[in-house]
């Protein structure tokens, strides 16, 4: 139960990793798994198919070899029986034995078949040797009537009988009377009728066949993978075996006794601890069996070496496929990764990012489409920014256009009044100030002017307003050294001063109001301040002044927010307006600007 749980958890984890993996990972893993499945399936199928075919082919070849040996043996035995019949009919039958003719015929037939025959002997039913070729003597004290070959021949007269291989021990050398040759033979004995002393009697023809001639049929037969062929009789006794000597000594075991009763066919046997295919073919007439033994490892592809070889080859294919998969998945997904990377850059900075365009047709198309979208987006953003700036400028210009007639009307009123009062010098001062005021207002259409001009502009304005408000307030204008040639946005002080007069000082008694204007540098930045000692403002109002357009009932109508936004628009968000105000104490308004020499301010003007 616990194991199932663990397996389920592992399976979920693998599935989760697979599902959440990168496209490259998914492609790689999917291709690899499919390839592995295909390799195993194909390899397994082909292996099973070919191993079966190979086994059948090898088995067939080995069967054919055993068949050929069996046929050769059959032919050999047939030949031996034919020789036996020939001897019986041509050399012995109807001839008196022993006789010169019979001996000569026997010798002739022997010499014609010396490759197969060691001795030919003719015995009567009393076991007396009547004729022999080549000439030899029967060993003393040998009673052939006790020999199995003799009794079988006499008792089963219709058959020819083959004995087990043995060392020939019947005869001695005719010349020396001793035994010098010890040859392995297989005896072929058969019943014959002989004529001895003109009377017909029973006898036995014994042909000692050369064992080596029989062994030759088997000696050069090699079955698959150290397989071999051997010969057993009906009891399972080995007649020929390539390791006859070792088996005889007990140094090697053979399953011959188990196979004696088997019919023609193919069997599987454990021989010396190894599974072997055994092919049994019966030899006609004798009942002997030719047995082919092939270790199974020689027939099957399923041997350890072969399986290892197939596994190595499959592993090799798999490794190569992994490399190819890695390459292909990389090839497919690399453009997507590049595209994703450029999208990440785009998220951070839409202005400077280039969208990757590459890879396959679809990815290139996607990249190009995104690039077009980004370009359109950038264009739209720029348009909006430009539109906003234009809107602010138009607003400013509109406001300026609104105040100028009002301011001009009031100033002209003062001038009329001064002329009526016969104060031509004062009127002249106002006209001069008004002229300078409007000239600086225009500033040849520039939006960035020097601090000096801005101060001069506000000085002219204050001079006129001081005349108008009959010296209700005093003012000071100070500029630190080095500030006058710095840049300022045009018409940023005048609205502040105007607000100070209208909202702070207008209601004060004569000479009580003060307006102090300063230009100074702090920490590398330019500050322009307007301080009045007017009514001041509550904090809520201060808080609203930079976020809302607080309507002004009189004056230029240019709000602090407008000034604040204009500064930020020109110089960035780090700059703008700060307001410090206390009720009944007065108000200090600080304009925070970068300290930019006027000579370098051209680009900011173009921006506007």
């Amino acid at each position: 139960m616990k194991e199932t749980h663990v397996f389920a958890r592992v399976a979920r984890r693998i599935a989760s990793t697979y599902n959440r993996g990168s496209i490259r990972y998914v492609i790689f893993v999917s291709f690899t798994m499919i390839a592995l499945f295909a390799i195993v399936l194909t390899g397994g199928t082909f292996y099973a198919r070919f191993s079966s075919q190979l086994e059948n082919t090898l088995y067939g070849e080995n069967q054919m070899l055993v068949e050929q040996v069996t046929q050769s043996l059959n032919a050999y035995l047939r030949n031996m029986r034919w020789i036996s019949d020939t001897i019986s009919y041509r050399a012995v039958k109807n001839r008196d034995v022993p006789s010169v003719e019979a001996n000569e015929s026997l010798l002739l037939l022997y010499e014609a078949n010396t490759n197969y025959i060691r001795n030919i002997g003719v015995y009567n039913d009393a076991g007396e040797l009547l004729a022999i070729a080549p000439p030899a003597l029967l060993r003393e004290n040998v009673d052939v009537t006790q020999e199995e070959w003799f009794t079988r021949a006499l008792h089963q007269s219709e058959n020819q009988h083959f004995s087990m291989p043995s060392v020939q021990n019947l005869y001695m050398d005719a010349g020396t009377g001793t035994k010098t040759q010890y040859n392995w033979i297989v005896s072929l004995s058969s019943y014959i009728e002989i004529t001895q002393n003109k009377s017909v009697r029973r006898g036995v023809l014994l042909i000692d066949l050369r064992y080596d001639a029989l062994a030759e049929l088997f000696e050069n037969v090699a079955l698959s993978n150290e397989g071999y062929v051997y010969l057993i009789d009906t009891d399972g006794t080995i007649l020929y075996h390539p390791h006859h000597q070792l088996i005889s000594s007990g140094l090697m075991q053979e399953a011959n006794m188990d196979l004696a009763s088997l019919r023609d066919g193919e069997y599987t046997q454990q021989i010396r601890g190894e599974e072997c295919a055994v092919i049994v073919r019966k030899v006609g007439y004798t009942g002997w069996s030719v047995v082919g033994v092939i270790p199974h490892r020689g027939l099957m592809m399923g041997g350890g070496q072969n399986i290892l070889f197939v596994l190595i080859i499959l592993a090799l294919y798999f490794a190569i496929i992994i490399v190819v998969n890695a390459y292909v998945s990389n090839k497919i997904t690399d453009p997507i990764s590049q595209l994703e990377l450029s999208m990440q850059k785009l998220e951070k900075n839409i202005a400077g990012a280039e969208v990757y365009v590459g890879g396959s047709h679809e990815i290139r198309h996607l990249g190009r489409t995104i690039q077009q979208m980004v370009n359109q987006l950038k264009k739209l953003t720029d348009d909006i920014v430009a539109e906003q700036a234009q809107k602010q400028k138009s607003e400013l210009n509109a406001l300026q256009a609104q105040i100028n007639p009002h301011f001009l009307y009031n100033t002209l009123d003062i001038l009329v009044w001064m002329i009526e009062k016969q104060q031509p010098e004062d009127a002249l001062k106002i006209v001069s100030a008004l002229g300078r005021f409007f000239r600086l207002s225009l500033s040849k259409g520039k939006n960035i002017i020097t601090v000096q001009d801005e101060l001069e502009h506000v000085r002219n304005y204050l001079m006129i307003q001081q005349m108008r408000y009959k010296n209700k307030f005093t003012y000071t204008i100070e500029a630190e050294e080095g500030t006058l040639e710095l840049s300022s946005i045009k018409l940023v002080l005048q609205p502040l001063v105007e607000n100070a007069i209208y909202h702070g000082i207008e209601f004060m008694n004569e000479g009580e109001g003060t307006i102090d204007i300063r230009a100074y540098l702090r920490q590398g930045d330019l500050y322009l301040s307007v301080r009045d000692n007017g009514l001041g403002m509550p904090k809520e109002t201060v808080a609203r002044l930079l976020t809302e357009h607080v309507p002004v009932s009189i004056g230029s109508g240019i709000g602090l927010k407008n000034v604040h936004e204009r500064i930020m628009l020109y110089f960035g968000e780090g700059y703008g307006v700060e307001i410090h105000s206390e009720l009944d104490e007065g108000t200090l308004i600080l304009l925070h600007l970068p300290a930019i020499p006027y000579a370098e301010a051209e680009k900011y003007d173009r921006k506007a």
Partner: protein
Amino acid sequence: MIGKLEKRLLAGIAILIGVLLLLVVYQNAQETGTRTYSISVLVHAPSERFKKGLEKAALDYNVDVHLITTDEPGNGEQQEAYLKRELQTDADAIVLEAEDAERMQAFLSKLSAHVPVVTYRRTLQRAGIAAHIGIDDYELGLRLGALIAARSPLLPCLLIAPRTLDSSMQSRLDGCYAALQSAGIASRLLQTDADGMTQALFAQEPHTLAVLDENLLQPLCQLAPATDTILGVGYVNGVRAQLESGRIAGLVVYSEFDMGYLSLQAAALCAARKTPAVTESTFYIADAETMYDAPVEQILFPID
């Protein structure tokens, strides 16, 4: 864009592919060429049967056999020189029947054990001897003694041995003495060789003549009185007729073919880094009755 991990993975797979290719090449090389082992056999006067055994094993185990014998028995110096030469010619294994056990022991102890040495008959105490295929000479002597006791328990026994008793012959003699003593049979040792053997040596009272060296059997059959019972160990082709006729009453025999086969088989297995079994020979009694019965028949009359 290949990451670090992927690079490592690919490098690992490349190495794996290389290893697999090497394995394939190695396996192909192993399958295409059946290894032929070069094995030097330095033995003392090998019999034809022993050589046949070598040949059979050479065929079965794909061995190129170098059979080397000394010019004269006991020539340890010459055998050592031959062994040095064979080791220099990169023999895969050695089958060694030491002519001079002490000398060979000293020589082999100086050798590194990279070439497996299979000792035949004479054991050598040396680390690195891969296997021993031997004849237990003491057991052989015991069997001879038992045969004497069974066939001729009443007569005194004349033990006939070569003039020089090497360790093998001494072991046979010791075994035989032990068996005769246990059976209460009196015995006497006669050390001679084929040339020095005369009828006079056997002219005294009837004896059981027990031959400890098969090379002395044939001359003994010619010279010994017909009344003496001859027994012995081993066989040579010339004595088979004597055995058949009963002139030799019995022999303790073993298969030299097997010894040759097993020696080379053991050496081939050692060369193939396999462990052969330590094998001692099996002894059989051969006489006129049993000489045509298996397995004595195959020992006395091997199928060529």
